[in-house]
């Protein structure tokens, strides 16, 4: 297969007719993840939007070997795939566990922490759409403060989003990165890099969700870009403990500054009841974290 200008694998692993929602950030990310990891890959799937995307038996919209498991167990399921392959001397297959924020931050944290602490040889990627979107937008540990969900339908979520990247960094991983489907080349490059590294690699995917966040389906990329340009979501990688900005965040760190958060928030229905105090708290935490990252990048 010949290369395009970005040297991105032209083969498609998700065929037309997937059951994901229109404008789904996950389907866009997943398309490039699979292009980066290529054929010799097995995917572990919990019950989630990804399970829906894969289709209803006996048809599937994907051409990739995939194993469904229960909600709490995706990282353990990937551990079992890795152990089984090793027992059978099949050592050239990449194992990817791909869970939503529920399957990562909340019900999936135990098996993920266990697998990461054992430095299981796999990639765990979290597609973070900031809520239980597959069941219809309920609050999760990843939902940001001030967001409306169907279980915080009146008052909005009162607590801040869990800082999951810090939790994963505490597991001494060989590779940790953040990506956004709004920046597919950056995403692609990081998965290609992760594929070559051994041990537990963690990749966090900011995943805009039109029905859950309340924005038009055509704006998925725009919302993804605004998340990065406001500094709410920062593109970086940590390799053997060394922090490095990448892509748009790198350019922003070198010159320029963050856009005000309101540019991002006011395009989404879920933030329509956010209070001034919540906005202030969120803006301050974004600024503080950005400054922390700037310091880390200096070295």
């Amino acid at each position: 297969m010949h290369d395009n200008i970005f040297k991105i694998n032209e083969k498609e692993y998700i065929l037309p007719g997937s059951r994901a929602c229109q404008g789904c950030g996950l389907s866009l990310a997943y398309r490039y993840i699979l292009k980066a990891l290529r054929e010799n890959t097995i995917v572990a799937i919990p019950p989630s939007c990804l399970c829906v995307l894969h289709g209803l038996y006996p048809t599937t919209s994907t051409i990739i070997p995939a194993l469904n498991t229960t909600f709490a167990s995706n990282a353990a399921s990937a551990s079992g795939i890795v152990a089984g392959l090793k027992a059978l001397n099949k050592t050239d297959i990449t194992v990817l566990a791909l869970s939503g924020d529920g399957g990562t931050y909340d019900i999936g944290i135990q098996s993920l922490s266990g697998a990461a602490e054992r430095n299981t040889d796999f990639i765990f990627a979290c597609y973070d759409n900031e809520g239980y979107m597959n069941t219809g937008t309920q609050r999760s540990g990843s939902t940001p403060m001030g967001a409306l969900t169907t279980t915080t339908p009146v008052l909005t979520k009162q607590e801040p989003k869990k800082d999951f990247l810090k939790i994963m960094e505490a597991h001494h991983l060989p590779y940790l990165a953040t990506v956004s489907p709004a920046y597919p080349v950056d995403l692609y490059d990081k998965f290609v890099k992760a594929k070559r590294i051994r041990g537990t690699r963690y990749i966090h995917i900011d995943t805009p969700c039109p029905p859950g966040w309340g924005f038009p389906t055509r704006d998925t990329v725009k919302i993804g870009k605004l998340a990065v340009e406001t500094g709410l979501f920062v593109l970086f990688e940590i390799e053997k403990g060394r922090f490095r900005f990448t892509g748009r965040s790198k350019a922003m760190a070198e010159k320029g500054k963050l856009l005000p958060l309101t540019n991002y928030l006011n395009k989404q229905e879920r933030f329509r009841k956010m209070s001034i105090e919540q906005l202030g708290t969120l803006q301050m935490s974004v600024n503080n974290r950005w400054n922390e990252y700037l310091k880390r990048a200096e070295g």
């Binding site: 054929e39 010799n40 890959t41 097995i42 572990a44 799937i45 399970c51 829906v52 894969h54 289709g55 209803l56 038996y57 006996p58 048809t59 599937t60 994907t62 051409i63 990739i64 070997p65 995939a66 194993l67 469904n68 498991t69 229960t70 709490a72 167990s73 353990a76 399921s77 990937a78 551990s79 079992g80 795939i81 152990a83 089984g84 392959l85 090793k86 027992a87 059978l88 099949k90 297959i93 135990q110 098996s111 922490s113 266990g114 602490e117 054992r118």
Partner: protein, 402 residues
């Protein structure tokens, strides 16, 4: 020459696993299973057993690891007890629903709350309807032999097998165990052939969402709906009884050790009173039968070795001449009665077996069940029935109540 060693039930289990050569082992320690998990990790670290040992953070993950490793084509083993088994509950369904030949030991222990580390069978009994074959062992030799048989059964019928044995009473008690030669095991147990392999060579999405109705695939062929898949599991259970019996018979031919396939019987030919149960309490009942016979009471024992599939035809045959039946159970279905008692009654429905059944709930949380207590209970049952009382009843053996 035979290799006979004096070992605990857990070591007998570990020796069996070593002989069955699983590619992947995952276990989380829990009393009284712990020494089994420890022994296996020692075999692996010493290079005596070539397997991937995944030292998981929970029982939920230990069974998950086995499920996924089995799906890529590896033979697998795990073991647990009590609340560990309960923590696996959703994965028990996942393993059987996936039709994976996982073999697991359940070292039987009472379930909290309140905590008890000691033996009863409420743990595995409460998982009866998860779609696993359950086999209960009565001594350490049977533990070893059953684990090897379990792999052959599971891999032939694609149903996971739970090998159950009583915590401490067997797991921590030393008995002579004949360790079979590796060549014998190799001959008895062919290598594992998965029904579906998760592999990039043939990409599939395994266990996606099923509809209730059957649906066409891309070639227009109608494929199973959820209910049809469930019926296939039940059909496999129906034929599994014969496979369990065959495995037991062939093992007996090769080793001289016959533990019974689905049930075993002790002096039942002329028995008017039949005592029954699962696991070590049934062994204890054989001593009680001896004592009763010494008093002139024609007593015998039927041991329920395989609890699922329930051996309906075998128990009808074995109990047909009994005039009194006493079930000794280390578990109960709260709000009703002992589970084996219920199943026996259901099996006898519509047959000529009209003997009253007394269900003795015994030994919960490790309360000792002495032979003499079984003898007394059995005598009471027989006298009550002989005096014309035909009611079935549940009696809590050696239990204080105000």
């Amino acid at each position: 020459m035979n290799d006979v060693r004096i070992i605990t039930g857990n070591e007998a289990a570990a020796q069996a696993v070593k002989l069955a050569k699983p590619g992947v082992i995952a276990a989380y320690p829990i009393t009284p299973q712990t020494s089994l998990a420890e022994l296996l990790s020692e075999y692996v670290e010493r290079g005596e057993l070539k397997a991937e040992y995944v030292r998981v953070e929970s029982e939920h993950s230990s069974l998950t690891v086995c499920i996924s490793a089995s799906t890529v084509g590896a033979r697998v083993f795990t073991a647990t007890s009590s609340n560990g088994l309960l923590y696996m509950h959703e994965q028990l369904h996942w393993a059987s629903g996936s039709r994976l030949p996982v073999v697991m030991c359940c070292v039987n222990r009472g379930v909290g709350a309140p905590w008890s580390i000691f033996n009863d069978q409420q743990d595995s009994f409460s998982q009866r309807d998860t779609g696993w074959i359950q086999i209960y062992c009565r001594d350490n030799q049977e533990i070893l032999d059953t684990i090897i048989q379990a792999y052959r059964i599971a891999e032939e019928v694609y149903i996971p097998v739970m090998v159950c044995y009583d915590g401490f009473i067997l797991s921590h008690t030393m008995m002579p165990v004949d360790i079979p030669d590796a060549g014998v095991v190799k001959k008895f147990l062919p290598s594992y052939k998965p029904h579906t392999v998760l592999s990039p060579d043939d990409p599939k999405t395994i266990n996606p969402v099923f509809f209730a109705t059957r649906r066409e695939n891309s070639e227009g062929v109608l494929c199973d709906g959820y209910m049809d898949m469930r019926h296939k599991l039940q059909s496999a259970f129906k034929k599994s009884g014969e496979i369990i019996k065959t495995a037991s018979e062939e093992w007996a031919k090769m080793t001289g050790r016959d533990h019974g396939g689905l049930i075993w019987e002790y002096m039942t030919e002329d028995a008017e009173l039949i005592l029954t149960g699962m696991g070590s309490i049934a062994t204890e009942a054989t001593l009680a039968a001896d004592a009763l016979r010494a008093e002139g009471i024609r007593a015998g024992v039927v041991g329920i070795r395989t609890y699922r599939p329930f051996p309906k035809e075998e128990v009808v045959q074995a109990f047909k001449k009994a005039t009194a039946i006493a079930v000794f159970e280390k578990c109960i279905s709260y709000g009703y009665e002992g589970g084996v008692c219920s199943d026996l009654k259901a099996a006898f429905y519509g047959t000529d077996i009209k003997a009253p059944i007394h269900s003795y709930i015994a030994g919960l949380g490790g309360r000792d069940v002495k032979t003499g207590e079984i003898v007394d209970a059995a005598r009471t049952t027989l006298e009550s029935i002989k005096s014309g009382k035909t009611e079935n009843k549940t009696i809590w053996l050696n239990c204080y109540s105000d």
